[in-house]
Every structure is written in C-alpha cells, then in structure tokens.
Amino acid sequence: MEYEAVIGLETHVQLKTRTKMWCGCANEYGADANTNVCPVCLGLPGVLPVPNAEALRLTALTGFLLNCDVPSYAKWDRKNYFYPDNPKNYQLTQLDFPSTITGFVEFELDGELESVRINRAHLEEDVGKSFHFADYSGVDFNRAGVPLLEIVTEPDITSADMAYEYLNALKSILEYGGVSDCDMEKGQVRCDVNISVRPRGQQELGEKIEIKNMNSFSGVRRAAEYEIARQIEVLEEGGQLVQETRRWDDDAGITDSMRTKEDAHDYRYFPDPDLMPHRPSKEWLAAIREDVVELPLARKLRFMEQYELPMGDADVFVGDAALGNYFEEVAKGLKNPKQAANWVINNLQAKLVETETSVADLKFPAVAIGELIGLVEEGQISSKIAQEVFAEMFASGKSPATIVEEKGLSQVSDSGELEAFCREAIEANPGPADDFRNGKEAALNFLKGQVMKASRGKANPQMVGELLAKILNG
C-alpha cells in the first residue's frame, strides 16, 4: 500500500519590538540573567499587563503579509499550567479570537508554485528559560513576556521538503516585512510539527503525532523525514499509532515518545479579565497596510505575469530590486517588455557592472531605451548599430535619435545607393559570385557581408540580400 503524509506546522516567532509584550523591559537577547525584568514580567503580586502597541501592529502587519484577515475583534485568554519558567503559571495567549486568521503562504518547491494555508497567527507571551546545574536549577526571566507570534498552518504540507521550503519562505517573509529577525540560534524561531500518515486516497486523517525540540529548519526536515518513515513502518507492520507528543533527538536522528493523549494538559483556558479585547480601527489597519512591502515571490510572479518574462529574467529583477524598478519604468507603455528586459539585463546591467555605477547614476532617461528599441523595430538602425548607439547614450546621455543623426548611423535603404555597393562587391569577388550562379547559395552570405562592411553596417541587410540575388540572377 502507498502512504501519504499530512503535515501541519506551528511556528513561534519572537517579534522585533523594543520592549516586552506587557511591560517596558527591553526585548533583548543575550543580557545577563534576570536583568531585563520588572514586577510585571516576574509576575509579582498585584501587577497588571498593558499591551505593547508595536507588537499589535507587527501582528496585524504579519497578517497582511501572510494574506490573512485581521478580524475586528480579538481577545486574550489565560492558558493555565504550572512550570517554573512561567511567571504567572498561566500564559496569556489568544484561544478563539486571534488577531489574524485564514491566510496562505506561497513558495516554490522543485520549480513549482506551492501554497500552504495559514489557520491563524496569534499573539502570546514567551516564557523564561530554565537552566539546570549540578544540584539545582535556575530560571532566567529575561525572555519572559517577549511578544511571540504563533503561526499555525492547515495540514497542507505533504513532505519533509515542503515543510522545509515553507519555513524558509515564512522566514524570508517575516524578515522582509521587518516583523522578526528570525534568528534560530537566538531562539527567535521555534517550530513544532504535527504529522500523520494515511493510505493514499483515504479521506480520514491518521493519528496526529506532534514532534517537538527541533532547533533548525534542517532539523525539522530530518525529523519529518524520520517520522513519516517511522509511522509508515508501524502501519505496514500491522501496528497502531496513537496520538502523542514525541521529542526529536537531533544527535541520534530519531523521535522518542514524550507523552500520550491521556496525560495531555487540561489548560483550562478562559478569557483574561485583566485585558480588554482588541478592536482594531479601520484607520489603524489602513496605516499598517501602508507598511506592507511586496514580497520576493509575489514580485517575481508579478513580473512573470505582467511583463511575460521568463523566470530567469524575473529572478534577476527580484535579486536586484533597483534594476527591477528601473525595468518597470522602461517597460511602461512598451508593446514588447521582453525586449526591454533583454536590453536592461544584457546591455545596461553589463555596463553598470563594468563602470561600477548604479541605475541612479544613469545620464539618460528610462524612456530612451524604449526609443532605441523603436529605432530598431522601425528599421532605422540595425541591432548592431543599436549597440553602438547605446554605448554612446550611456556615455553622453544623448537621445538615441540625436546620436543616429549626428553620427549618420541611419540604415541605408536607398536602392540606388545599395545597388552600387552590391555591384562593387560582385566585381571585387568574382569567385563567390560564380559559385552562387552555379547554385551555391551560401556564397550569397559572403557577398552580403562585403556589402555590409563597405557600408559600415548601415546597409539594410534584407534589401542587400534581395538586390544581390537579383543582379546575379539577372
């Protein structure tokens, strides 16, 4: 039997705020233990939380970046559990009315566009960090109360590689949007994976198994690979899977059972009475929307669709945003943007590299490249001459028409003048001329080359070919 994996990810991301979620303590990694703490984040008797406005803003911004809805009502809940790193012994989180819901993340996998739906991205608070010494333990509460976004996918992921690429895409989106630095080594991103397997074609989901303790994206990929194979093996051997939480052992490359459903926590969630529900105003959301940047993949896909560019060209314009922006100006109103892309990538970019300058230093306006393309299309100059004109444009900033005019580069299409060039070439090269007359058609190209050379490239090549044939066949 063939099996398929169904994977969902829960990713915790620390928000890049100056201060913590409920108090004014610095949100800062690497300070001495318990130095970024105050009565509020230590959960002292009598304290109350006050929401960090910047964290709320970054949450809504993330919602927009992940194509989510930002509901007009969100609230806070207490998740109750005892642990020494949890100062209040309840964690403030958002259970049933999160700040953002129902979005999706798009990314590329093996050259194909994939999409994973986002169930929600909700805001909560981080907890402290436990340290275990020889005969005692300690807790550093610097991290307690740092704003944490939990981004939960739908079970749309079907392979370890897909999980890996989703995480990379998510990271790049959050970094690009300025939401988080996503530094895994600093614990700014943490990821739990839910995996089940089922016979291919079966609708019903298999038993969900949660994997914890991966500390890198490649660890997530390896853990998922291992776990999918393990689950299939259990089923193939006629075994049963049970809903459980397993711990990834990165050194051993295996997962171990931590706890089963029976000893799962009852978190006794209830609405936090210390915080008012958050009701984002239209104005507030509109202001945040202004901060939404175009994400790399979206830009790439837009370039491919809007300008009908091949993926390679689009990649160049995403990789070099300034060049891409310049291209968009050049392409404005052009019938064939692909040609403009060729000019920008093959000629302009090369020149910029050669002269160590940038598009900001260009002496000619973007519209000049369109004019140059126009001159070629109208047959006024050949593509070869166009290169020469471009070099001059780049050096002097003069318009293509002026350069063609001043240098007399206009293509010769006067049949009388061309006929004189052709006759000269035939007379000077009797051998090839005879070859052609004897049926060797390739000889015509040699004669054509001589005419082009004599006209210093200005002769209209098509007319030259026709005239030569006419004279020789005459």
């Binding site: 959960g43 002292l44 008797p45 304290v47 006050v50 207490r78 005892f82 309840y90 009475p273």
Partner: protein, 484 residues
C-alpha cells in the same frame, strides 16, 4: 483625642497649624498600641516609616504646600502593594515578601500628601466575610470583640471604627468593603468597576475587584475617593471617564432623587432589627424628599452561585503565581511539581484552597460550558436587571448585610451559610456598579447596622449625595465603640 478626627476635621487643624501631621500620626500609632492587642486590625505597623512621612508632610506644609490629604494618616489593607513594606495578603505563602513597588492608589495617596501606614488584617487573599480566614488571626469587632468585624477587609473597617487611623483603604470583590463597614459602623464605598486602578492590588477576582475607602463619614469618603480615582495606563480595565468633583455632590439635597427597593431583597434570613433599621433609613430619605418605589431584580437568586463560579475561576489562575519559585515561602521538593504541592499545601489556608479547587473545577475541560460560560451569561442578565432598574430609579437601597455581626466561630463550619451573608453586596460587583454602606442604627445587642445604597456605573455623585444627606439628618456615624 486627635485619632477621633475625620479627614476634613484633621485637615482643618493641620491647615491652621493647631496640629502637626506628626502629632496626628503619633496619636494613631498610640491608639494602635492601646487597643489593637484586643482588635488585631493591624498585621504590622512600621511606626518609624509613618513618622518619617509625617515629618516630611509637616515640612512641606511649613514650606507653604497644601495638598488634598497632606499629613493625613491612612492605613492600608494587606492586599495593596506598598514599596518596601511587607505584602502578605494575610497568608503564610508570601513569607517574608516585601513589595518592591507602590500600587497606583498608594502613589496617588502619596501624591496627595497622605501618610501611608500599616498592614491591615483581612481574610486571606480577600476570600471571606468574617476575617476569620487570616493566617494572622481574626480581627475583632470593636463593638463586641467576641464578634467578627466582617470581611474580607475586616482590619480596614476595625481600624477606622476604633479610630486607629483617620481613614483606610480596602478592596471589595463581593462586598468586602461594604459588609465590614456595616458590621463595624463606619462608611465604606465600593467604586464602579474601572473607576480606581487595580495596579498593585493583589488580584482575587480581577473582573470584580475594586479598591475603595473606609472613612468615618461620607464627606471623607468623597475626599478619599477623589484622591484614588482616575485613569491609570498601567490598568487596561481602568475607564478613562473624567473624575467629577465628588465633594460638590454633597449638597444635602435629595429632593426628587428616586430610590428603588428591590422586591427580591425581602429574604427569609433578614434579621428583623436590621430590617427595621434600614426601613427607617429609607423613610428618613423619603422624608428628606427622595421618591421611593419598589423595583424588581429578577435574577437576584442566582447572584451568589454566579459569583462563586466566576470569582473562584479567576482566583484559581490569579493565585497560581504563588508557588515559591520567585518569591515568598518555599518548601523544597524533588521536582517542580513536588515543590509546588508542598509550598501551596502548606502556604494556603483552607478557604483559599477550597476556592482554588472550585475555580479549577469550573474551568476544567468538560465543565467549562456548564459552569463558567453559563455563569458569564447569568452575570450579563444580572447586569441587565440593574441597568433596567436604573432607568426608573437613581439609587437602590437595601440592608448591607442580612444580620448584624455574628460570633467568631459561629459560621466557620458552614461555608455556604457564610457565603449567604453576602447576598446584598455581591450583585453590585457582578453588575459593575458602585455602592456605599453607611451606619443606620444599632441592634439591641449594640452592634452596628448598615444601609447600603447602590448606584449606576459611575453614579458615585448620586451615591454620595444621598448618603451624605442621610448622614446629616442622623447621628449614627458619630457613635464610637467604648474601648477604654
């Protein structure tokens, strides 16, 4: 006899220079020394800190400064955080804990020039109606030391009634200010939810708790409320409603003020003497020009059950932080779970444990909908009852408690009977209203009886106006227990 003064009387003498804050503070400290061995209103007093504040107040006044409460000694319930002072919530679990910060109300008192002193006895974590649930022993009623002073702010009421301070602060979650005020014969006011900052008030039930004043008369209640009320950016549940001038409400005029008497409050357990005293008080208000009419609050019978679900649910989470990891008493264990179990097992008293277990239960998976969620719905209905009633009346009058103070130990074996003594006070917190208790008589046994007035949200001016007018027409508030 300085300690007998009210806030306004003391301020007058401080302003004329007849008295210094040091003298007033020393008088209170002497009084504590003299009577508190019998009353146990104070868990602790830091006399030198109080006198240092008094001296600073006297210096400010000498320098020409005048503030709303400059130099007035105010004692504080042991549930409010005062910087560098013990904070025990009358529990063993906090051990030697001293608060590193001031509650917002304490900051406001200091800004108004008050001398903040003492840690007042209470029921542990404000859970109780008799002050018997204190790890520091019960406070005693100054009118009869065999009787309870009420709770949970028992110490706050006793200290004011026995003139051990000029005024005090307490907290009210289901009647914890009004009930002991009534049983001890002083004025106790519970402000509207959101009127006074809760920052620095150790939470029992966050959606019900409010800080409020205990005073010797209604004018003082207005003065003290004026100082502590107002928006606080450290409390998200604080309402940014402008604070009116409460003293301006004390016009003595209640003509046309509509007072409602809830039909449902004529309960079986209502003591005839209490009924007679409060009926007379209502008559008095009517004689002063108020209009009295019967109203209905149909969901009254569900109030106590609703309260004990919501309050305990919130408490079960609020009290989770007391496990000895970061502060307070700790009993070591082999692992965090054992440490928790031992620390909390030894640190919390019986009533606190009972409520934590009840609250944990009503929030548990499978029970949440049947208890917590349903209680929230009933809470909404109770609030609607009141808002509807307040379309017809300006205030609601009732006894504060169904009986005068009972004997210490009389109800400790029957928690449910104890819970029922909150019947008149509890709905006010569920509905987010304001309420006040003022002395309105004595039982034949010489125990005080309180009249409760409830006002609509942010209706404190009407509340104070009626209470003040009543007080002006009677002399109950001038009676003092004999402690000599």
């Amino acid at each position: 006899m300085v300690h007998f003064l009210t806030i306004h009387q003391l301020l007058e003498q401080l302003r004329t220079g007849e008295l210094s804050s040091r003298e007033a503070t020393q008088a209170c400290l002497d009084r504590v020394e003299k009577v508190d061995g019998r009353l146990n209103a104070f868990i602790s007093v830091d006399a030198s800190d109080a006198l240092a504040q008094a001296d600073a107040a006297d210096q400010s006044r000498a320098a020409g400064e005048d503030l709303p409460m400059l130099g007035v000694p105010v004692a504080i319930k042991d549930v409010l955080a005062v910087k560098d002072q013990p904070l025990n919530c009358a529990s063993k679990i906090l051990g030697e804990f001293n608060s590193p910060y001031d509650a917002t109300v304490i900051q406001k008192l200091r800004a108004a020039g008050a001398v903040v002193f003492g840690r007042l006895n209470m029921d542990e974590f404000a859970m109780g109606s008799s002050n018997e649930n204190s790890a520091f022993g019960s406070a005693r009623n100054p009118w009869n030391t065999d009787c309870i002073p009420g709770g949970s702010s028992g110490g706050s009421a006793v200290a004011v009634a026995a003139d051990e301070c000029i005024a005090s602060l307490g907290s009210d979650t289901g009647g914890s200010i009004r009930q002991p005020a009534a049983l001890c014969g002083c004025v106790g006011l519970k402000p509207t939810y959101g009127r006074v900052s809760r920052y620095g008030l150790v939470a029992f039930a966050s959606s019900l708790d409010q800080v409020g004043p205990f005073t010797k008369d209604v004018r003082d209640a207005a003065t003290l409320l004026q100082v502590i009320a107002g928006a606080d950016e450290q409390d998200s549940t604080n309402v940014p409603e402008p604070v009116p001038d409460y003293s301006a409400a004390l016009s003595g005029d209640v003509k046309g003020l509509r007072i409602g008497l809830p039909r449902e409050y004529q309960v079986k357990g209502l003591d005839p003497e209490v009924k007679a005293a409060t009926d007379a008080a209502v008559k008095q208000l009517e004689a002063l020009g108020a209009e009295v009419k019967e109203i209905t609050l149909p969901h009254t019978e569900y109030a106590i059950a609703t309260y004990y679900i919501i309050a305990t649910a919130e408490a079960s989470a609020n009290l989770a932080r007391f496990e000895g990891v970061r502060y307070g008493a700790r009993l070591d264990g082999a692992d965090p779970e054992e440490m928790n179990r031992k620390t909390r097992g030894a640190g919390f008293g019986e009533e606190v444990k009972r409520r934590i277990i009840l609250g944990t239960y009503v929030l548990s998976s499978g029970y949440y909908d049947a208890y917590y969620l349903r209680a929230q719905k009933v809470r909404t209905l109770i609030r609607q009852d009141f808002l509807k009633a307040f379309e017809e009346v300006d205030l609601i009058a009732s006894p504060t408690t169904p009986t005068p103070a009972f004997k210490i130990g009389e109800k400790t074996g029957d928690p449910l009977q104890m819970y029922l003594s909150d019947i008149y006070t509890i709905s006010c917190n569920l509905a987010g209203l304001c309420g006040i208790s003022v002395p309105c008589g004595f039982s034949k046994a010489g125990l005080p009886i309180g009249l409760q007035l409830l006002g609509k949200p942010f209706g404190e001016p009407d509340l104070l106006r009626a209470a003040h007018a009543y007080e002006q027409a009677t002399d109950w508030h001038t009676h003092r227990p004999n402690l000599d």
